[in-house]
């Protein structure tokens, strides 16, 4: 019996499935509220990638091959980076400079104004910043999960 069949006990597997839900929800909260509380794209993406690493530790290699595919995370990482660059280039298409915040203080998607001084935050503010947070969060999620996945497949292939 080799490394491919080693799995943790039933309690660990059920707990990992249950905890993965909460980790994803907390990570998406940190990503989405990046313009109001401490956090943002990079921090929230690292939190969700930790959840993926939890799943990779708890299950055996053959179970993981049935559940997660490597091409999902490749597409996810590339889509995140393309969304980030596309949002920045769209500002050049509208006539202003590269990376200009063209949605702040306007009436469109995230365009409410913020009064000066301490206030309780509103999710509708900050213009193009939440879109960039979501794009970077998706990219970091895919990238870090892909790194852990490559290292696991590198170990599990040497000894049968």
């Amino acid at each position: 019996m080799g490394v491919k069949n080693l799995r943790m006990s039933k309690i660990v597997r059920i707990s990992a499935n249950l905890l993965y839900t909460f980790v994803i929800i907390f990570g998406l909260y940190v990503i989405l509220h990046g313009h109001l509380t401490p956090g943002g794209g990079f921090q929230g993406g690292a939190v969700v990638a930790t959840g993926v690493a939890l799943i990779l530790v708890a299950f055996s290699y053959e179970d993981i091959l049935a559940m997660l595919k490597k091409v999902t995370y490749t597409v996810q990482e590339s889509a995140g980076l393309l969304l980030f660059i596309g949002t920045a280039l769209l500002a050049m298409g509208l006539g202003v400079t590269f990376f200009y915040n063209y949605l702040a203080n306007s009436g469109l998607l995230f365009g409410m104004s913020v009064p000066f001084g301490p206030n309780s935050g509103n999710l509708d503010t900050a213009g193009v910043i939440p879109i960039m947070n979501i794009a970077v969060g998706i990219e970091v999620w895919g990238g870090l999960a892909l790194i852990v996945f490559y290292m696991l497949s590198g170990i599990a292939r040497e000894r049968v």
Binding site: G34, G41, L65, K69, N101, F116, T125, I129, G143, L146
Partner: protein, 94 residues
């Protein structure tokens, strides 16, 4: 020979780095014009409550673009090394 050079490098760099606690005071930063501008005008121009996020994604967004590309390149490098390691054959999900 390597040990003598290592101790010499460590001694010289240690003595040079002792200038950091000697000449800097903690809690009184030297130049503050740019940071006071960001703290006073960040809510008006970037419309965000979190000034650090507005600096990372709005005032200095170009550095964040470079950082995302560095992370992407690291993932490409790891994938390339593992493909070379196992002789160029395609891995498990066909």
């Amino acid at each position: 020979m390597k040990r003598i050079v290592s101790w010499l490098v460590l001694a010289i760099l240690g003595l040079a780095m002792l200038a950091i606690p000697a000449f800097l005071t903690f809690g009184v930063p030297a130049y503050s014009d740019m940071d006071l501008y960001f703290l006073n005008y960040g809510q008006l121009q970037a419309a965000a409550n979190n000034i650090v996020t507005s600096v990372v994604f709005d005032y200095r967004g170009f550095d964040t673009l470079g950082e995302s590309v560095v992370l992407f390149t690291a993932v490409i490098g790891v994938g390339l090394l593992f493909r070379k390691l196992h002789g160029g054959e395609e891995l498990e999900d066909e």
